[in-house]
Symmetry: C2
Subunit: 221 residues, 2 copies
DNA sequence: TAGATTGTTAATCGATTAACAATC
DNA sequence: TAGATTGTTAATCGATTAACAATC
């Protein structure tokens, strides 16, 4: 029977394994770069250093089928992934913290490809208030409520120092934010109905440090 | 028999499961914030929304033991994690691309806690060459070779646009770089002895978008 | 058609969890 | 000591991989 996944979708949402979702994001990144019309599971696998069976299995979760003997029609597969991730639906997000990172994010032009628009950036530092970051003026936190309602903001981006991250998050949740995109290098406590995606940028380099010390390549430190 | 992990370490390096390494980084983040002297697996688990058995299992990989009836001595456990990740050994890294993100990373003060020092930032845009980013002057790529040798640089940080990421990586590898910290939103092809850590910052928000559309909380889009 | 590639079921593998012994 | 908590073994669960049938 073809496309069980479509059927499953009818009764309650499928929960994608975390690892599968991560790989689907990688396929999304890879396929957006591809110039050809079709690609095989074999080729996707090779470029990502995984097994082709894994690729086929992952793709079977999607509302999309490849063509035996031909492969996957790239633009259709990208469409299915866009659907999965909702990149065609716009989410307005806000950034809290107008430091180097907050400003870098606010200036990032690629968000449009992911259905993200940064509608405001906040900070409480009087030196920063009123200054411009791209098209946006840095606002004080007292304007949170108004902005969140006006732009129906669900996602709050935490770019404040670790010390103030938790209280910033508490405030955002009180103001109705449903998901936290956390760039502060700390673990946040949130109610269970709130989503958190941690992007501990600096700490991610520790994986490289760890592996450099343990692989033949890196042994020569 | 106590501390099998220590024994195992003697014969060839243990390979930590990817998921375990990710959690160990979270413990590292969590424990650095803790003020008390001891903490139980129960409490760590609660704060991270995982099971205490998982915490004990993860910690059993380390060259460290907790105290029955008392818990884990926080500063000793942090030491063991620092050892695992090599945060006390300094790695000099370079940043390629002096855009918003590259500059934000170059300015980040927290790297010292992870044993990372940014020794140079590169760009080929004549407008940027010679300008200052914190203490650093933006250098042209022709200086790569000199800097990599002089500072024994193993890790190269990719902050260039997606279009130029692959050729930048090819160049870095030719110049002797062993590990790539990739912030470009593309999949890189590298020889198998080269390590890659992908930090596709913008694409990470897609997990939140996906879940917001599928959880009761977010349904009201 | 024959052959190549997908899709899916079944087997395997590895990670998580449960249970409990060790221990302070 | 008794009780609490770690450490470890065994059972379970879920994800990956292998095998192969479906299909164009």
């Amino acid at each position: 029977m073809k496309n069980m996944s479509v059927k499953k979708k009818r009764n309650g949402p499928i929960m994608f394994p975390k690892a599968t979702l991560e790989r689907l994001k990688m396929y999304h990144a890879l396929l957006q770069e591809e110039k050809s019309e079709y690609i095989s599971s074999e080729e996707i696998a090779r470029k990502l250093s995984i097994k082709p069976e894994q690729v086929r299995k992952d793709i079977s979760y999607l509302d999309y089928s490849g063509k035996p003997k031909v492969g996957y029609h790239i633009s259709s597969l990208v469409d299915a992934l866009d659907e999965l991730f909702g990149t065609k639906l716009r989410d307005n997000i806000i950034i809290i913290g107008a430091g180097h990172l907050g400003k870098a994010l606010a200036n990032y032009k690629g968000f449009v490809n992911f259905g993200i628009r940064v509608v405001a950036i906040f900070d409480n530092d009087p030196e920063k208030l009123g200054t411009y970051v791209g098209e946006l003026v840095v606002l004080p936190l007292k304007d949170l409520d108004r902005v969140i309602r006006r732009f129906n903001v669900k996602i709050g981006t935490i770019c404040v120092p670790g010390e103030s991250a938790q209280k910033t998050v508490d405030l955002l949740i009180k103001k109705g934010i449903k998901a936290i995109w956390n760039f502060a290098p700390v673990i946040l406590e949130v109610p269970e109905n709130i989503l958190v995606e941690n992007m501990d940028i600096a700490r991610s380099v520790l994986t490289l440090k760890h592996l450099l010390d343990r692989t033949p390549t890196g042994k020569i430190r």
